[in-house]
Subunit: 226 residues, 2 copies
DNA sequence: GCGGGCATCCGCCGATCGTGGGATCGTTGC
DNA sequence: GCAACGATCCCACGATCGGCGGATGCCCGC
């Protein structure tokens, strides 16, 4: 099997050497380059075929997050695995947003690191246990779709609610549903009253806060089997 | 060191036996019980000290997600590690929401499974590579904070914008900022004009869609070092 | 110094919105 | 059958909102 071509981006030269040795202990891994800053990493990825970039976040010239963003933009097939000392929430999210498909900390065991490199090369992702915990925490804290949020509303009122949240005026809602302005206002009144809301602005806020706004995000609709 | 007490919840008896043998190959792990349905798992966790529940999702009587929710409610210190054949998005999210702190699939290697059990017992989390990929995908798709969303606004206008999004009326905004109703309206007009919005309802929608609403979620504010 | 952006105020107008009342019609359930 | 509920419509009132024009001071940069 063709070995996985790895680029090492890490500003401490000594650690870089150690990582190279560690990775090349696995015959399936070939460390093609090692560099000390983000800009160099981007340049090399642009010019050569690289399967996996092992990326430190704290680096001169171009920090790891930006470098990751550049690399995933220039070479979408190249996979970036972040290897860093820190596992702060913001960094994890920022790195993943930038396109990283893995995040491990430097206290990882050698075998696990090699496995992580192979995993990401394989199309999977790799999250170190500590990092996975943060990610899970984030997911859990993410906006929750409250199934009871619209419980007291009738079908018609839900329709009205949806159009309010979409930013439609009463006249527009009337035109959409073939209703008079007055009828719409009656429904709007029922919606606001039942949900205890002051006005349509609060209805919009309510919708977003309860995850019933027309978000396309998958996060907002977790289904439990009935 | 005291071994990790594990409860095995898995409806296939044969697999259950295999898992028990596999786990107990590690001296740090002790399989205290093994059961075939979710309800039994909940009962046992209630009555005994269990460190880790290895939970199948598809089970009779009480499915894994609900059982997980029950267990994390009854015994918050007990950690649930999901072990299942499927890695569908909804299941992963549902399980994590229910309180699972790990999610591995049944094609995992024995050593990795044992390590996952020890990791979650340790307070960390464990996500199998394939699952981690889905989670990362979800995180990436999550609402993005657009740093340029409020770029054209002055500091004062941002303040006004924030209060609009909080659902405050013009008079309330005036009272908060010690301004006249008229002054507030001037600012509101400037905000709507600069952002190309029709009215304050659209301003609220704009805020949520661009991730600049006052969400407490960490997801909405990824910071990149400057 | 003088324009230009900013924050602050003012009054006026028309549109929209929220709320009060009341009315008809159909379905569903006791 | 009748009560209860929901959907639909109507009118009128006052509050709020958005848009227009204009005004004053301030501070910064050319």
């Amino acid at each position: 099997m063709r070995p996985v071509r790895v680029l090492l981006a890490e500003d401490q030269a000594m650690l870089r050497g150690a990582l190279r040795a560690l990775l090349e202990a696995d015959p399936e891994i070939e460390v093609a380059f090692d560099v000390g800053d983000g800009a160099a990493a981007v340049e090399l990825v642009r010019a050569h075929r690289i399967d996996v970039v092992l990326m430190d976040l704290r680096m001169p010239r171009l920090d790891g997050v930006r470098a990751t963003a550049e690399i995933t933009r220039l070479a979408p097939t190249t996979r970036v695995l972040v290897l860093t000392t820190f596992d702060a929430d913001e960094l994890v999210v920022a790195a993943i947003r930038a396109g990283a498909c893995g995040y491990v900390t430097k206290d990882i065991r050698p075998a696990a690191l090699r496995q992580a490199v192979l995993d990401v090369a394989d199309g999977s992702a790799a999250l170190a246990p500590g990092v996975a915990e943060k990610v899970i925490g984030l997911l859990r804290r993410a906006p929750v779709a409250d199934p009871d949020a619209l419980a007291p509303l009738t079908a018609r009122e839900r329709e009205i609610f949806g159009l309010i949240v979409a930013g439609r005026s009463n006249d527009e809602i009337g035109a959409t549903l073939h209703l008079t302005r007055n009828t719409v206002k009656t429904h709007v009144r029922a919606v606001l009253g039942k949900l205890g809301l002051r006005d349509r602005v609060h209805a919009v806020i309510y919708a977003y806060e309860h995850g019933v706004a027309p978000r396309d995000g998958l996060l907002s609709s977790p289904r439990v089997s009935p």
